[in-house]
């Protein structure tokens, strides 16, 4: 009997040797005359177990990992016996996966990302099919009623954005997908693009129907070559099968998508800088208004949304607004794919409804640090997010609760640091990163970031006789950047800087803060 074996093609799996595992598997199976069917699926997002190899069994999929090419002869010899030391049991029963609520990532890791048949067999294109039966206002209504907010980080209600584009008349409108996922500690956009690209294509197609746009662009980071390749192939397949083009599923509606490669500027994740870049210019932030929804790409009304926002639209349309809205807490409805990264034992993707605590995420899912040392700080929400100490780990993960702590949820990245971290150096890095990546349009960001690096250098060196004055100056500079910057690049760089200073003052040569629990190892 032919054995079906799954070896992921996700780039983190590849970075851990999945191609060598797949090659060894085929060579060994051929050598022994064991018939196998190799499927290159997406990743389940349990990255500490990658390469995670699965086999299909009558009782469901069985997981083995992390698998090396050296394990392959033994695995084939025993026909992937559950007694093999690499066997993890039924994939769906692995607690890390079982405790998740996968809505957007329902298919990710299960299917072959480039198999349209797989996609359709796992509820794919049900959202588009329903959208084709609705009028545009009804589609927008579904997205608005679901309570979906922008998953890129700004958390602006997606339905409100779409309603504005729908209400603005123009000969040409656009849907732009912001896939410039530059936040350190995040990879959920990358996973969607590599591991379930049809979902993003479907979401953009629905957005096009909703607002009357016929053209879409996906602006993808140049650091993601595998995502770009997967999207290009998936767009080709969708077009060949009538899911994209001038007559989508014989509806008479038209929608086309083009992938555009970014060029390594972090600020182009800011929506107006992204639009400038797509138009062929330097990625310089635009002043708002006008909003992109009114005057966006090439001056036309434009829906610009993050990958996860758009990828969540198909399930909202397929299952209805109420289904999605029933997940979550307060004004944060639905689920968020959190990403556990940095010095973490079990790094990976955790999709859960809003409302779990940071502690559950970093301890119950993440298992603490990879180094085995105590966690000292967790940065939530990317390079522009705050560093939180253990005393704040009971914070509920929703947009408002984080905001109340002077923090942000951002794109859902959670980066762990052990007690070896020097928080003054992390604060310096935040300013340095802003100096490297500032687009230069506004002064607080362009000049402030460089002055910030110099100030923190003076504080770190400890030879300033008036450290209190330097700290006051740093706070003053941060206030100027927060209130005077044109966009989040300069406006939010103070989050990591001030949170490091407030929660870890001892690293800046000041007395210890009362806010911090004495959990730091000696």
């Amino acid at each position: 009997m032919t054995l079906t074996v799954f070896v992921p093609r996700d780039s983190t799996a590849l970075a851990l040797g999945a191609d060598a595992v797949a090659a060894a598997l085929q060579a060994e199976a051929r050598r022994r005359g064991v018939p196998i069917r190799l499927v290159r699926n997406g990743s389940r997002g349990l990255f500490w177990l990658e390469p995670l190899v699965e086999i299909a069994s009558p009782a469901g999929r069985i997981a083995f990992g992390p698998v090396t090419p050296e394990d392959i002869p033994g695995l084939i010899e025993t026909r992937f016996s559950s007694a093999h030391p690499r066997c993890l049991g039924a994939t769906e029963e692995i607690p890390y996966l079982k405790r998740q609520q996968r809505l957007t990532f329902a298919r990710v890791g299960i299917t072959d990302p480039l198999s349209l048949a797989d996609y359709l067999a796992h509820d794919g294109y049900r959202g588009l099919t329903r959208a084709l039966e609705l009028d545009p206002a009804a589609i927008v209504g579904e997205v608005a009623d679901a309570g979906l907010r922008g998953r890129g980080g700004a958390a602006f209600p997606t339905g409100v954005k779409w309603r504005t584009v729908l209400a603005t008349s123009a000969e040409q409108k656009y849907v732009v997908c912001n896939a410039d996922e530059g936040d350190s500690g995040t990879f959920s956009d990358r996973m969607v693009m590599e591991d379930d690209p049809f979902m993003l294509i479907e979401g953009m197609s629905i957005a096009g129907l909703a607002v009357g746009a016929t053209r879409g662009f996906i602006y993808v980071r140049s650091e993601y070559p595998h995502a770009i390749a997967a999207l290009d192939q998936a767009i080709g397949i969708a077009t060949d099968n009538g899911y994209l083009g001038d007559d989508i599923l014989d509806s008479g509606k038209s929608f086309r998508i083009e992938v555009r490669k970014a060029a390594g500027a972090y600020v182009c994740g800011e929506e107006t800088a992204l639009l400038e870049s797509l138009e062929g210019r330097r990625g310089i932030v635009r002043a708002k208004p006008p909003l992109p929804a009114v005057s966006g790409l090439f001056g036309r009304p434009t829906v610009i949304n993050n990958v996860i926002s758009l990828a969540t639209v198909p399930i909202i349309l397929a299952r209805g607004a109420n289904f999605y809205r029933d997940y979550g807490v307060g004004r944060s409805r639905g689920t968020l794919p959190f990403q556990l990264a940095g010095n973490v034992l079990r790094g990976g993707l955790v999709e859960r409804a809003f409302g779990l605590t940071l502690r559950e995420l970093v301890h119950d899912f993440g298992g603490g640090t990879r180094s085995g040392r105590p966690i000292r700080a967790v940065q939530v929400g990317g390079p522009l997010g705050a560093y939180l100490p253990e005393s704040q780990f009971d914070t509920i993960l929703d947009y408002e609760a984080l905001a109340n702590r002077g923090a942000v949820l951002g794109h859902g990245g959670v980066v762990l640091f052990d007690d070896g971290v020097d928080m003054a150096r992390q604060a310096r890095y935040a300013m340095e990163f802003c100096a490297i990546e500032s687009c230069g349009k506004c002064t607080p960001c362009r000049i402030g970031s460089t002055r910030g690096v110099e100030l923190i250098d003076r504080i770190i060196s400890g030879d300033s006789p008036r450290i209190g004055q330097q700290i006051a100056l740093l706070r003053d500079l941060c206030a100027t950047m927060t209130h005077g910057s044109l966009c989040a690049m300069g406006g939010m760089t103070p989050y990591p800087v001030l949170s490091a200073l407030d929660h870890f003052p001892e690293d800046f040569g000041l007395a210890e803060s009362a806010s911090k629990l004495p959990t730091r190892a000696a």
Partner: protein, 158 residues
């Protein structure tokens, strides 16, 4: 045909392929760099004329984006992630090691012309850092020893 002339022909073909597309400048620059390894100065006036831009505008775009190079790289490009998630697991030590091992600073090419060393701020491999990309291939859990093994394996090949 000399290498320089051949390069100009490539550049002209890439410009021709994109010139009528909306927002053509970045795709053209990517096309040239993918083909030639960098965007040579000779490309600037050709692009400017085709897109009805000034040479200063084209140069401004090339110099704005970290991805575009105006000088040929080594045979391979090594990009080391220096962002927070990788910092948390030793990226700075790896960066220091790489500069010694390759014999060059960041944004430079070693004397043997083999590797150009570039910093990168996130490769999306943050669950299993430190991450490195050699040409277009990502590598995770890169210790200094693994870095040496990876660069030794790539050295000389293409």
């Amino acid at each position: 045909m000399s290498a320089k002339l051949a390069a100009v022909e490539h550049i002209k073909a890439i410009i021709e392929q994109w010139r009528t597309a909306p927002g053509a400048l970045l795709p053209i620059l990517h096309g040239i760099q993918d083909q030639l390894g960098h965007v040579p100065a000779a490309a600037v006036p050709l692009i400017a004329a085709a897109l009805k831009l000034s040479r200063a505008e084209v140069h401004g775009v090339i110099s704005f984006y970290h991805h575009f190079r105006q000088q040929p790289p080594g045979r391979h490009v090594v990009r080391i992630c220096r962002a927070e998630a990788c910092q948390a697991v030793g990226a700075e030590a790896l960066a220091a090691h790489a500069q010694v091992a390759l014999g060059c600073d960041f944004h430079h090419t070693g004397e043997d012309g083999e590797y150009r060393l570039e910093p990168v701020y996130c490769l999306g491999q943050c669950a299993r850092g430190p991450a490195v990309m050699i040409d277009d291939e990502p590598h995770a859990l890169v210790t200094p020893a693994r870095f040496d093994a990876l660069t030794a394996a790539t050295r000389g090949g293409k």
